[in-house]
């Protein structure tokens, strides 16, 4: 019945019309028969009946179809109003979409990376062992803890160890770099992860001879990407760094290992944990808390430390003491390894704050737009109240309109979030984004977005709606819109002031980040990053029987140097700028008092003529040459910083340095200029460069090539030449030194880009808000302005009058915004470089930019006011 009424609306309406018409006509006829004139009869009938529309409305309500039907009606009406005012709608919807989209994107990543628990059995029972000391902690721990914990499992139901490394995987002739995870045999059983295909690793797989090979389990996404989900892969053999590995199984799609940001492609047995500083994880017995298990871990760790006697490992005395002062602690691990969280938590929090402020501005914008519109519609609303519309009904309709507006914004926002998420990840993580961090439109994110948009609609729909329907019918109808409601204008103005203030905060933050990036870019790294091409070569793969490492390296360099266009070429173990950097402690013969074991000296192993190839000036002595191999005395080159630290008054060339037991192991043969190492922010550390040709094992090396033309042009040619030497040799990460330096600026670039984007967005929204308010004010004052012009006010005076109002709003915003910016940018201190958060120049620039654009936004309506024709303005109704 109700549905029928809803769909056959017109038929029902017709019947209602007819019924009421019959009534009124009958009454009129009765009056006519009594001798009234036609006109009088109709008037009397109408009076006796009362409001026809109200009666109809009440009849509809009485039928119980009122609510649903009127919602449909409201929606239709809402869509019509939106379509009728495309500019208003576009501005409102876009500002909401951007605000909501940015928030949803950042919240999604936050959720994916920070809040998601591991997809394993009862993740809340998992704990990771950490070693803590004053001022630091690490997750790479003493391998002995594993055995000790296994021996006394009072509170633990399982313990396992694992480590991760990038290895070269060779299958069917093609080689590629993959993430391999090395685990003890009880890894899968402790986590409770079953096999998707085949089987997982078992304790009997974990034998010393299987270290890093033997049998392996593929991750689902790697299985998909590399083997096209071929079930025949079971039993096949692949090679990991040359070791044969038989594939025995595939893990389920939802299992991504323990670190969401680094899912393993293949998992193999760990073999002997003592060869690593592994991660150690434990599963607590049901009902045992982490606190209860803690003493057991401490006891186990103490037993491990007791085995660390002097000489039992090649540690120096201070190093051992540092270790002995450490403690072991359980860390909750239900959300996986803390890697990604630690790296990006702060960044994401800052971004969430930025996006939140943008949303605030967007909401303020919507609110003032709705307020302005409700002012324009005061007449319409008054009329509808007068002909009998219920107040509640009108409020509901206005609310429907604003919720509709924000829902459309929210839906667009989800699309914007999809796109924004990818941009965000690319800026945050780089090109190699693991699949596990992919966008997942899950329920929580959707709920968050929907709640945000509906809340915005209700919050900012309700004030204008109540206000619009608030006054009594007659005053609304009679009120001259030109005289306007002062209180509404005050509310709109305060909203604009809030927008201006919030924009100043965002712009100041964006300015600080932009200047930080510029400061970092302006730093001289000590070398010419653009002209040197680097590529990584995994020489561990090269297994020609009987060939010594030095011969291979020399041959490699010779081949590359023969390529036309190559000025100079040499090898180093890691790029000149360092990939994270290698650190050690050296003892110099000039210092009888041994310095602390500080690990503050950077090092690298370099090949013949390395510094000439990398474009670093040699200041004294000579380069390491072709003949500095294992048959020659061991030599090193140091940088200025090291020379200055240990030989402040003399020439270090010819002096010796080494380890605590052998302080004269190496002879210094040269001094090179300081170059930044690992990090542009830090001062250049003391550096020591050993001879690559004096290293025994073939490993990963980095080719440095100085070219005549653009480096990129030669990359393919060089790669071919190397692979002609040995086709199984993986060559990867081909880039200039500049790219490597740039990578360390990723976070700064991300902040500068995104905060700049948010700042501009805030600026644009605020200008739209300002424009709206001023335009509205001008429209309201058309008569007054016309009068002023008629009485002789000059155009300039009129423009100035309107502009002054604009600037007052901007000034009001600045009064709040500048202290707010000072207070909030203090939190960014650790992220800045070369300037402090208290930066008057940045703040002034932000305020001035806002004032200038705000003045422009105010100038448009001001000019319109000044061009008013006084006669028509005075007649304006």
């Amino acid at each position: 019945m109700r549905l029928r009424n809803l769909f056959r609306r017109s038929a029902v309406e017709r019947e209602l019309d007819e019924e009421l018409r019959f009534h009124i006509e009958s009454q009129v006829e009765m009056h006519l028969r009594a001798g009234m004139s036609e006109e009088e009869a109709r008037r009397c009938a109408a009076l006796a009946f009362g409001g026809v529309e109200r009666a109809k409305e009440e009849c509809r309500d009485a039928r119980g179809i009122g609510l649903l039907r009127s919602v449909v009606q409201d929606l239709r009406y809402g869509f019509r109003t939106m379509a009728k005012r495309p500019t208003f709608t576009a501005v409102a919807v876009m500002s909401l979409a951007l605000g909501i989209g940015a928030n949803a994107a950042i919240f999604s990543l936050f959720h994916t990376a920070m809040l998601r628990t591991l997809p394993v059995k009862q993740p809340e029972q998992l704990a990771q062992v950490t070693q803590v000391w004053r001022g630091g902690w690490q997750t790479n721990v003493e391998p002995g803890i594993l055995e000790e914990l296994r021996r006394s499992p009072q509170s633990l139901s399982g313990v396992f160890a694992l480590t991760q490394r990038t290895v070269n995987l060779c299958a069917g002739g093609a080689a590629e770099r993959v993430e391999a995870q090395l685990v003890t045999g009880d890894y899968y059983s402790t986590l409770g992860v079953p096999a998707f295909l085949g089987r997982t690793l078992a304790p009997e797989d974990d034998r010393p001879e299987n270290e890093g090979g033997g049998v392996g389990v593929l991750g689902y996404s790697f299985w998909t990407r590399r083997f096209g989900r071929d079930p025949e892969v079971l039993g096949k053999t692949v090679y990991l760094d040359g070791l044969p590995v038989t594939i025995v199984g595939v893990t389920p799609p939802e299992f991504f290992g323990l670190d969401v940001a680094a899912p393993p492609d293949i998992t193999v047995p760990l073999g002997n944990p003592a060869h690593f500083e592994p991660w150690i994880w434990a599963r607590l017995k049901p009902g045992v808390s982490m606190r209860q298990a803690q003493p057991e871990l401490e006891a186990a760790f103490q037993r491990v430390l007791e085995t660390l006697r002097p000489g039992s490992k090649d540690w120096s005395v201070p190093d051992r003491e540092r270790r002995l002062s450490q403690r072991a602690q359980f860390l909750p691990a239900d959300k996986g390894a803390p890697g990604f969280q630690v790296a990006y938590e702060q960044s994401l929090q800052v971004l969430l704050a930025f996006a939140g402020v943008v949303l605030l501005i967007a909401c303020a914008n919507i609110a003032s737009l709705l307020l302005a519109r409700s002012a324009a519609r005061a007449g319409e609303i008054g009329l509808r109240l007068a002909i009998g519309a219920g107040r509640r009904r009108l409020v509901r309709q206005l609310l429907t309109e604003s919720v509709l507006l924000s829902l459309v914004g929210g839906v667009l926002g989800v699309f914007f979030a999809l796109w924004g998420y990818r941009v965000l990840l690319a800026l945050l993580v780089g090109e190699n984004v693991p699949e596990t961090l992919g966008f997942r439109l899950d329920f929580r994110v959707l709920a968050f977005t929907a709640a945000l948009s509906v809340l915005t609609g209700v919050l900012f729909g309700i004030a204008p709606a109540l206000r619009a329907t608030g006054g009594d019918v007659f005053s609304t109808l009679k009120r001259d819109p030109r005289l306007g409601g002062a209180p509404r204008q005050r509310l709109t103005k305060s909203l604009v002031v809030v927008q201006v203030a919030a924009s100043i905060v965002l712009l100041a933050g964006a300015g600080l980040f932009a200047r930080t990036l510029r400061n970092l870019r302006a730093i001289d790294p000590g070398f010419h990053p653009e002209s040197v091409l680097t590529m990584r070569i995994d020489a561990a793969q090269h297994r020609v029987p009987g060939q010594r490492s030095a011969e291979f390296y020399r041959e490699l360099i010779r081949q590359v140097q023969a390529i036309p266009g190559v000025k100079a070429a040499s090898l180093a173990e890691i790029p000149l700028f360092g990939a994270g950097g290698y650190w050690t402690t050296v003892w110099a013969d000039s210092f009888p008092d041994a310095p602390e074991d500080d690990h503050k000296t950077g090092f690298n192993n370099v090949g013949p003529d390395f510094f000439r190839s990398a474009g670093v000036p040699l200041l004294a002595g000579r380069e390491i040459g072709e003949r500095d191999d294992r048959s020659a005395p061991e030599v090193v080159i140091v940088n200025e910083a090291l020379a200055h630290k240990y030989w402040p008054y003399g020439n270090p060339v010819g002096r010796r340095l080494g380890w605590p037991e052998a302080r004269t192991k190496f002879e210094i043969v040269g001094v090179v200029r300081n170059t930044k190492y690992g990090n542009l922010r830090q001062p250049v550390p003391p550096m020591v460069y050993f001879s690559l040709l004096q290293q025994e094992k073939l490993g990963e090396v980095t080719l440095h090539v100085r070219t005549l033309g653009a480096p990129a042009l030669l990359a393919a040619r060089i790669r071919r030449q190397i692979q002609a030497l040995d086709s199984g040799l993986p060559v990867y990460r081909i880039e200039t030194l500049a790219d490597g330096v740039d990578r360390t600026l990723r976070r700064e670039r991300m902040f500068a880009t995104l905060s700049g984007f948010f700042g501009l967005l805030a600026l644009a929204l605020t200008c739209v808000g300002l424009y709206g308010v001023i335009a509205c004010a001008v429209a309201r004052r058309t008569n007054e302005i016309g009068l002023r012009i008629a009485l002789g006010a000059t155009r300039t005076a009129v423009v100035w009058m309107v502009l002054r109002e604009t600037l007052m709003l901007v000034a009001g915003g600045a009064i709040i915004g500048v202290p707010a910016a000072l207070a909030s940018t203090r939190l960014l201190r650790g992220l800045l470089f070369g300037l402090t958060p208290f930066s008057p120049a940045t703040l002034a620039a932000a305020t001035l930019l806002l004032a200038a654009l705000g003045a422009f936004a105010g100038y448009l309506p001001a000019r319109r006011a000044a061009l008013l024709d006084p006669t028509s303005a005075l007649r304006h109704e």
Binding site: L20, F22, E25, S26, F49, R54, C59, A62
Partner: protein, 110 residues
Amino acid sequence: MPQRRLDLLQGTLDLLILKTLALGPMHGWGIALRIQQVSKEALQIQQGSLYPALHRLEERGWIASQWGASENNRRAKYYELTRAGRKRLAVETSNWGKLAAAVAEILATA
């Protein structure tokens, strides 16, 4: 608008409508006339409020409607009491009697 008076009026109007229809099918206009005549013009009902009451009673199933021809041969909507409506009328009438008696008692003694 004071809600309480409306409630009392609404209940009373329902009772009057049911009672009027107990005499036979009638259209809205006829009901309005009849209430006015029988009460000797003492009860002035806003005619517009009659229809929401009719629709409400129909929605509750106490009355039913169908289109028919009026005295002057025009299409009019006729309402009639249903079985449920008759029961309702009995209940309402007795309620009204009790209420009126109680009020009269109070007025007589107090």
